[in-house]
Amino acid sequence: MKLYCLSGHPTLPCNVLKFKSTTIMLDCGLDMTSTLNFLPLPLVQSPRLSNLPGWSLKDGNVFLDKELKECSGHVFVDSVPEFCLPETELIDLSTVDVILISNYHCMMALPYITEHTGFTGTVYATEPTVQIGRLLMEELVNFIERVPKAQSASLWKNKDIQRLLPSPLKDAVEVSTWRRCYTMQEVNSALSKIQLVGYSQKIELFGAVQVTPLSSGYALGSSNWIIQSHYEKVSYVSGSSLLTTHPQPMDQASLKNSDVLILTGLTQIPTANPDGMVGEFCSNLALTVRNGGNVLVPCYPSGVIYDLLECLYQYIDSAGLSSIPFYFISPVANSSLEFSQIFAEWLCHNKQTKVYLPEPPFPHAELIQTNKLKHYPSIHGDFSNDFRQPCVVFTGHPSLRFGDVVHFMELWGKSSLNTVIFTEPDFSYLEALAPYQPLAMKCIYCPIDTRLNFIQVSKLLKEVQPLHVVCPEQYTQPPPAQSHRVDLMVDCQPPAMSYRRAEVLALPFKRRYEKIEIMPELADSLVPMEIKPGISLATVSAVLHTKDNKHVLQPPPRPAQPTGGKKRKRASDDIPDCKVLKPLLSGSIPVDQFVQTLEKHGFSDIKVEDTAKGHIVLLQEAETLIQIEEDSTHIICDDDEVLRVRLRDLVLKFLQKF
């Protein structure tokens, strides 16, 4: 059993598991932090960005000044943003049989894999995962395609040149493999390969293994996966949450008795408690708006935004903010808000019961109805007519490199009355803000990551007790900035096995059994013999038939009847020669009794020696040696076949035959 680790990002995993005869890709995460090295794509011509000075080498060489621009001491690539793909060289991805997706954030690299690697298999995911994943991809493509950029920089990627660049460009890894965003056509083609599944549904893969998605509690339709055969069970835990938010709660019980548990997607900010952060978010939002400032919340179009809107729904009246407009701007804003209301069976119990009242499960419906929350596909069009300040704007992309958020950063950045509140934990807010410096607006960092923290992990592991845990190397040591926090790492016995990008792990686990079926007529013919109370054995002669990873013992063909010998045998009638079967032996030889028996049969001068593996009985007179071991007995005598047979028969008396 091997695990190929294609991504180094612990929350955007992409691993391939080879288990029995199957090759299973676990998630398909796309590391978008690479985009932080690029200049933002402004929706409206930005004189500030277009007038940034080109970057020149120390010696004054300016050949890179078209590709690289300098802003407040940082250097950015002036080009269409590019993404860091999962490793494609480690394993031939055309051999991947299936891809299991655990949540919509972990499928963003899917088009790169399904469309460009010769992949011919099936992708499994739940319906909300696919629908919201589609929205995320659509938004991404839209954000990038609507601001076409003629230039595509590649000179800086040259290894010799990259060495000369300042950090973080100098340290960026595998820049040659970075790719531009996929197209909508590729997205559609990739999504067409997905087969929808429901929680606890058992999916047979070639008869070899069974895979089952379980609720993971993190997002709408998010799942953990169980991959099991008859005798082995691997659990794949990715992006799970035990907090009471909108999705169905996590199914922990089904993870019990795993041989291997692959643990990914823990919280990225283990020191930030989501409840505290929501409080911080509300307080800062209210404080800004009360002072007449605007609040910008860079976010994804689905996920935490539902919970934030729900908190605000309860908070705005109490904070006296009911007259403040809330805007949600995204090409998929409308679909996201509406989709959230129709996936009732994927929601937590409280929200499910609302559907029967009938009421919309999320209160943002009411916010929209009362005009407190308005949504727009982009800043163009209706929004510019309705726009009123002070206001609160939720918009993407959280990297601040593309999307409508770029416009608001340019618009509001100059005033200290305004605040940008970062709630998505995927990007370093300082790096995200770098191309907007100098910035007067206030910045608040309230990362809300509801995924498991280390305390919850340790409780979970205690409860489900897997034999082995495998996790990204980042989880096996405290965060570099807080090396004393030994509580911020996975703590389990035996210690977790860690992996890093481009590593192949042999999982510490050997397969020992295989299930084989016996045909009824063959089973009928068996004559079991009880050799110990409760244990019976029977010999069986059969033909092992293997097809689709299923093994069946069938009765052997009958021995050929003598055919009179005239007709020539046809080749197909050939049957293997069934040799006369020697009986199987079992049991052990008690040396003392054996010696007594030998003496009774006239052997004298018997000597017994103990060896590491058993005993040696020496018949000195007969110059014969009987070597008794756990699973074999050897009689060594000089060409005296009669003596050997005599001794053999004495040995056999002590053993059972069947």
Partner: protein, 812 residues
């Protein structure tokens, strides 16, 4: 006993003795017992029984085998005990063989009723009441009751077991008191037989291998040394201390908690004066117990007034050890001056912290709580290690928020155990607050403020932790005034203040109402203390805090609104509240006074309205500008609102406000009457603000405190006016008829009737004609004074049974 009760008594006894008429209410029986106890304490029990033979009959009746409820049986046992407390009555009951029947082996003790814990408890309490004289002692010895008490010590009902222990102590005390009188200390062999039996039993228990028996004995001894003050206790300790010392040698030590209790109880008694060996036992115990068990003993020793210095040092060392471990866990260099420097203690056992999280948290919390209690005591250890304690408190808080840098493996473990632990955070913040009473090195105080700010800023601080952090911050700000007692903030505190206000600003917008509430309370207290100080004023006015505070007057949570009212009142008193202009209500009230009046007249909850009244009272007392501008108009508006309020506390506050107004007009200090001119002027003003209508109406308020307050107010006014019956008043008598008519109607409950215009003279005349003193006395009686009489109690019991009968009849 009054005749009416005596008349009802036979019927009552009949009801109690009748198993078909169960007394539904247990409290009735308790009240009856209380009453009988009061009656017997006031007079002779013997006489009572002779005059009311039904009582003895009731007791005899109980003895008959029948299906009587266990409650009645228990009642009878306790009643008999109450009567038998007087020796002559005891003998009277003895003659009838009643007492052996009730408390002896042939009574309930041997019957099925004994299975009920109430009966066993009644038996014990009966004996407890009875055991007051030498005859009782003889009775106890002869009846075998002492053995039963021994066995009841292990009763499954904790109440019974504990009462049995206490009874044992009582009997022992009674037995020892008699002979000890005049003899001083007796030798053990001279003790009365009964006492010897009990002590012998205790000795057996102390030597027992069964931990529960040891615990029982220790409990009994703890009670004995705690409650009995005879010299005999010294002899008892001499007799038993070797056995106690032997317990210390056992491994594991049995009943460590009970042992600690006993040692402390003995240490607080008169024993140590004659028996210094106790201190050795205590010292030995301290060194044998685990840190968690030793903490209460160490704290108890340190609270003692007289105790050897060496033991105090040892105890303090034990108490400080967990904190010393914490300090050691973050010490950058080995040998950094720690907490136990100078204090005698074993060589620093750094690894003494318990390995489990809950035990470690419990140990730290209890250590901090003990030290918190010790700090203000005059007998606290000296020198008090203020600086290391401060450092320890700061370090614990840092461990709890993950910012401490551990320097050892123990530190790493501590870090993992304490991160995010709210219990320890609360205990450490409380302790830190208490430490503000002492000074600390400059850099440590800087650290204190830094860690407090970290807590106040952290989004992860829970509301209760935040509240404590606010309280501790306030205490430290108060203590950092220079020179002590001066109201100016020192420059460092001034710097802290700026950051504090930034935090406060955010906290006032918190979605959690508890946080907004504690933020406002903190603001109110800070403003009260430093509102007059220029630096504070400047910093506060430069922030958004005053604006936010007044916006919170519209908070959806009533507690927060109440705190906002208090804050706005305080800010306004200090001239720190700009005219409120909420963006929501541009046309709303423009001054703080208007704003608070709006709260008083429109808020649907009582808390904010009460808070508004308190603010108005304070404003009037302190001469707030908004009030001083037109005091009469202010009074008229507030009194009008208060008088119609549904909340009685608001009405009482209104009368309090009226009283202050009155005192301001007529002079509170001068005891005599006001000068006539001033009086007339004042009366006219009072009439204009319609104070009298409010006060008279309140006299008949359905809530007693309101009527009482009003009565006090009018009595004060009358005292000021009484002797000054001016000539013109004497001449033409004013027309008081309408006033009296109105009063009549109000008394009759027709509160809706208005009083109309009042002439000052009429008011005075009515005041003089009213018997306010009598009214005051009536009001001073508790509202149930009629219902609480024994007669009413007896009637209630009878009526309850009677009513049951009526219902039965109705069924047919």
């Amino acid at each position: 006993m009054d005749p009416e009760c005596a008349r009802l008594l036979p019927a009552l006894c009949a009801v109690l003795a009748d198993p078909r008429q169960p007394v539904a209410d247990d409290t009735c029986l308790e009240k009856l017992l209380d009453w009988f106890k009061a009656v017997t304490e006031a007079g002779s029990s013997l006489l009572l029984l002779q005059e009311n033979p039904c009582l003895v009959e009731l007791l005899f009746h109980v003895l008959k085998p029948q299906d009587l409820s266990s409650r009645i049986l228990s009642f009878a046992l306790r009643l008999a005990g109450t009567f038998a407390a007087q020796e002559n009555c005891f003998q009277y009951l003895q003659q009838g063989e009643l007492l052996p029947g009730l408390f002896g082996e042939h009574g309930p003790l041997g019957a099925a009723a004994w299975a009920a814990p109430t009966v066993r408890s009644g038996w014990i309490q009966g004996l407890r009441s009875l055991a007051q004289h030498p005859s009782a002692l003889l009775f106890l010895a002869d009846s075998g009751a002492v053995d039963t008490i021994f066995s009841l010590q292990g009763d499954p009902s904790l109440f019974v077991a504990s009462a049995a222990g206490q009874l044992l102590v009582h009997v022992l005390d009674l037995a020892m008191r008699g002979p000890a009188k005049g003899h001083g200390r007796l030798q053990a062999q001279d003790w009365p037989a009964c006492a010897q039996r009990i002590v012998c039993h205790l000795e057996d228990c102390l030597c027992s291998e069964a931990a529960p028996r040891v615990t029982q004995a220790l409990h009994v001894l703890t009670t004995a040394f705690g409650h009995c003050h005879g010299l005999w206790t010294q002899g008892l300790w001499v007799q038993l201390s070797p056995l106690v010392a032997r317990l210390l040698e056992k491994d594991p030590m049995p009943a460590p908690h009970a042992l600690v209790e006993l040692l402390l109880s003995v240490a607080r008694s008169s024993v140590p004066s004659s028996n210094p060996g106790l201190w050795e036992t205590a010292a030995q115990t301290l060194s044998r117990l685990s840190p968690m068990q030793a903490g209460p003993l160490a704290a108890g020793i340190l609270k003692l007034q007289d105790c050897p210095q060496a033991l105090r040092t040892q105890a303090f060392g034990v108490l400080l050890r967990p904190l010393a471990c914490v300090l050691e866990a973050t010490a950058q260099a080995p040998g950094t001056p720690g907490l136990l420097e100078g204090a005698a203690g074993d060589p620093m056992a750094v690894d003494m912290l318990p390995p489990s999280k809950s035990a470690c948290v419990g140990l730290l919390c209890s250590t901090l709580a003990h030290l918190e209690l010790l700090q203000p005591l005059p007998q606290r250890p000296s020198p008090w290690p203020q600086a290391p304690l401060l450092a320890a408190a700061v370090t614990i808080l840092r461990f709890c928020n993950g910012s401490a840098a551990p320097s050892s493996e123990v530190g790493g473990r501590l870090c993992a155990m304490l991160v995010g632990c709210v219990r320890v955070q609360r205990a450490a913040l409380d302790f830190l607050g208490v430490l503000s009473q002492g000074l600390g090195p400059r850099e440590l105080v800087t650290q204190v403020f830094a860690v407090l700010l970290e807590y106040l800023m952290s989004p992860d601080s829970s509301p209760t932790v935040l509240k404590k952090a606010f309280q501790a911050t306030l205490r430290w700000l108060l203590s950092s005034a220079v020179p002590p007692g001066c109201c100016d903030l020192e420059p460092r505190a001034q710097l802290v203040l700026r950051e504090l206000l930034a935090v406060l600003q955010k906290r006032l917008c918190s979605p959690c109402w508890e946080v907004r509430d504690s933020g406002l309370e903190f603001l109110t207290q800070m403003t009260r203390r430093w509102g007059g100080q220029a630096g504070f004023r400047q910093t506060l006015l430069a922030s958004e805090v005053p604006k936010l505070a007044s916006q919170l007057l519209q908070d959806p949570e009533s507690y927060v609104r109440a705190s906002a009212v208090a804050a706005a009142g305080q800010l306004s008193s200090q001239g720190l509240l700009a005219a409120p202009s909420s963006p929501e209500h541009p046309a709303g009230p423009q001054t703080p006074l208007e704003e608070l009046l709006l709260v008083l007249t429109t808020d649907s909850e009582g808390f904010p309205r009460r808070a508004a009244m308190r603010v108005f009272t304070e404003w009037l007392r302190d001469g707030h500008m908004a009030v001083a501008e037109d005091r009469e108009r202010f009074m008229a508006r507030v009194l009008q609102a208060a008088s119609g309020d549904l909340d009685w506390e608001v009405r009482v506050q209104g009368l309090e406000l009226a009283l202050i107004f009155l005192q301001q007009l007529l002079g509170a200090r001068s005891p005599g009457a006001a000068p006539p001119g001033a009086l007339a002027q004042a009366l006219r003003a009072l009439c204009r603000v319609q104070l009298f209508e409010f006060a008279f109406r309140s006299l008949f308020d359905c809530d007693r405190p309101v009527a009482q307050k009003s009565c006090d107010l009018l009595l004060f006014l009358r005292a000021k006016a009484a002797p000054s019956s001016s000539p013109q008043e004497a001449g033409d008598s004013p027309d008081v008829a309408p006033v009296e008519a109105a009063l009549q109607r109000w008394r009759a409950g027709e509160q809706g009737q208005p009083l109309g215009e009042l002439a000052p003279e009429a008011v005075l005349a009515v005041l003089r004609s009213m018997d306010l003193e009598a009214l005051r006395d009536t009001l001073a009686e508790s509202s149930d004074h009629v219902e609480r009489s024994p007669q009413s109690l007896l009637q209630d019991v009878l009526a309850a049974v009677g009513v049951l009968g009526d219902n039965e009849a109705d069924c047919y």
